[in-house]
């Protein structure tokens, strides 16, 4: 049992998922704003709710697998589920200032 689930959620976001890259765009999924939510139940269940830059992304399976494996590598006892959603639709307002710089938008 973890005393502070939100601390774990923050760790997953800031230290794990920030190292998961979209292989085509070559930017991590956190700075791209693709991760909508990370939920940890306080025991061993993690659910990542995320989207893709386009619904027809041919690399979707790889990105989802990368998210699961990366979390499991840091937290081997966790069970990880990825909830892929397309509502709300991802847009450029979701990209972090760092992501915008990497995309050449600023």
């Amino acid at each position: 049992m973890y005393s502070n689930p939100s601390q774990i959620e923050l760790e997953i976001l800031e230290t794990v998922l920030v190292n998961v890259y979209d292989p085509e765009i070559e930017i991590d999924i956190v700075n791209l704003g693709l991760v909508y939510d990370v939920k940890f139940d306080g025991k061993n269940q993690v659910v990542v709710t995320m989207t893709l830059s386009t619904p027809s992304c041919p690399l979707s399976d790889s990105i989802v697998q990368d998210v699961k494996e990366s979390i499991k590598r840091s937290y081997p006892d966790f069970e990880v589920a990825v909830n892929l959603v397309f509502e709300p639709q991802w847009h450029q307002g979701m990209i972090t200032p760092e992501g915008k710089e990497m995309l050449g938008m600023s």
Partner: protein, 428 residues
């Protein structure tokens, strides 16, 4: 889940050989073009040039298009390919028929070899079209992009039917009109109906995906679809019945307006793109579209000459080469690097993602060499077009030499991607 296509993707064994054989055919066609330049420059109807054109459009462009389509079909129709075995068989029959058909043209064996070669080509293309039509029947999605691609298949079928009938006519002579009239229809529906419609359909999916644009207004694309098809149907019927110059002009105008509507759509996508920095492959794609705009101007000049009843072979070659070598080949040279590395990457690294550090798809080829290839090709194109326009053999040969360098770099890069050796590093 909607939009997840990877489960429907075909085996890499079907897709990859098309890219290798296609790139080899591009190199071969350019070498042949170089050594026959003095002949085709001076002849009105050169069998060797016809052979080279068929290696280019069938061995290079259509071969890559087939490979790309097998990969794109799950996205376009949201279903898997009807039969992968049929696709493998098609690849073998098609490759043989390209070699046979080109050889028949090269040897100018119009009444003998061409008859059998064109029947084999007809069979190969019908195998491909059947596979895609059966895939189309189990589709779960239909939008303007899929309409473009499906209609392109219809035009491909018509192109090969007219081509085959023309070949049979050399042996049995049953046409009422001159066969040149049919060849004109054959060439235009092949270039515009098959290639251009296919490129519009595929690029309307791929360009927004690669530059990340959510521009969803497809009004321009709908107009483009309507105008190009009306123009092409009208043009073909007009040429089939004795040609009327006014109708011809109106139909050409319809096609040009259709293409301008497509260019407008791409412009809106480009303007609203999130990914501002373009890689070399995407630069080549957008350059191809600029070349298409220039080709439209050339076709205007060509139409002007025809209206004055002046037939200029150099303008016809200029028009054909700016579309085949300029537009179609440039876009293929770009899009190869947006598809093949990902197909190979998925094959080699998919099981290891997240467990090991894997290279990025872009690291499977040399971006530096792709850049060099792009500049060499564009300089070559400018020199070649000038050589054709001013009928200067030495200038034409310099241009083609640069195409040969381009085709060699492309082939080396394609082989480098295809035979990529797995590089995994442990994640610390």
């Amino acid at each position: 889940m909607t939009g997840l296509q990877t489960a429907n993707a075909p085996s890499h064994k079907i897709v990859i050989p098309h890219f290798v054989v296609g790139s080899l055919a591009f190199l071969i066609s350019m070498i042949l073009l170089f050594f026959t330049a003095d002949e085709w420059m001076n002849l009105y109807f050169s069998p060797k040039l016809i052979a080279i054109v068929h290696i280019l459009v069938l061995g290079w462009a259509t071969m890559i298009a087939f490979g790309g389509l097998y990969q794109l079909i799950p996205v376009v129709y949201e279903t898997s390919l009807y039969s992968e075995r049929l696709a493998k068989l098609t690849f073998i029959v098609y490759t043989l028929s390209v070699i046979f058909l080109s050889y028949a043209f090269w040897k100018a064996s119009f009444s003998q070899l061409l008859f059998y070669a064109s029947l084999l080509m007809f069979l190969a293309l019908m195998l491909f079209i059947t596979n895609l039509i059966l895939t189309y029947r189990k589709r779960t999605k239909s939008d303007i992009s899929s309409k473009f691609i499906t209609t392109a298949l219809f035009w491909l079928a018509l192109t090969v039917i007219i081509g085959t009938l023309t070949a049979l006519n050399f042996k049995y002579q049953f046409f009422n009109h001159s066969h040149l009239q049919y060849l004109k229809i054959h060439a235009h529906i092949g270039l515009i109906g098959w290639f251009v419609m296919l490129i519009i359909g595929a690029s309307s999916i791929l360009i927004p995906m690669f530059v990340i644009s959510h521009q969803t207004n497809t009004k321009s694309l709908n107009k483009s679809y309507f105008l190009i098809n009306i123009g092409l149907i009208g043009l073909s019927i007009n040429w089939f019945l004795d040609s009327n110059k006014i109708i011809e002009l109106l139909m050409i105008l319809s096609i040009v307006l259709g293409l301008l509507n497509y260019l407008r759509y791409v412009y809106l996508v480009f303007k609203s793109r999130i990914r501002k920095i373009l890689d070399t492959a995407m630069k080549l794609t957008f350059l191809a579209l600029i070349i298409l705009s220039i080709s439209l101007l050339i076709s205007g000049v060509l139409t002007g000459f025809q209206m004055m009843n002046i037939s200029k072979m150099s303008i016809i070659i200029l028009y054909g080469s700016s579309i085949i070598i300029g537009f179609i080949s440039t876009i293929i040279l770009g899009q190869i690097y947006k598809t093949l590395p990902f197909i190979v990457w998925l094959k080699v690294y998919q099981p290891y993602v997240g467990k090991f550090k894997t290279p990025l798809p872009k690291e499977l080829y040399s971006e530096k060499w792709l850049k060099i290839q792009m500049y060499v090709y564009l300089i070559g194109l400018a020199i070649f077009i000038n050589g054709i326009a001013f009928q200067q053999l030495i200038i034409i040969k310099i241009g083609i030499s640069l195409f040969i360098i381009t085709a060699t770099i492309n082939l080396v890069n394609v082989l480098k991607i295809t035979f990529h050796k797995q590089k995994l590093t442990t994640i610390k």
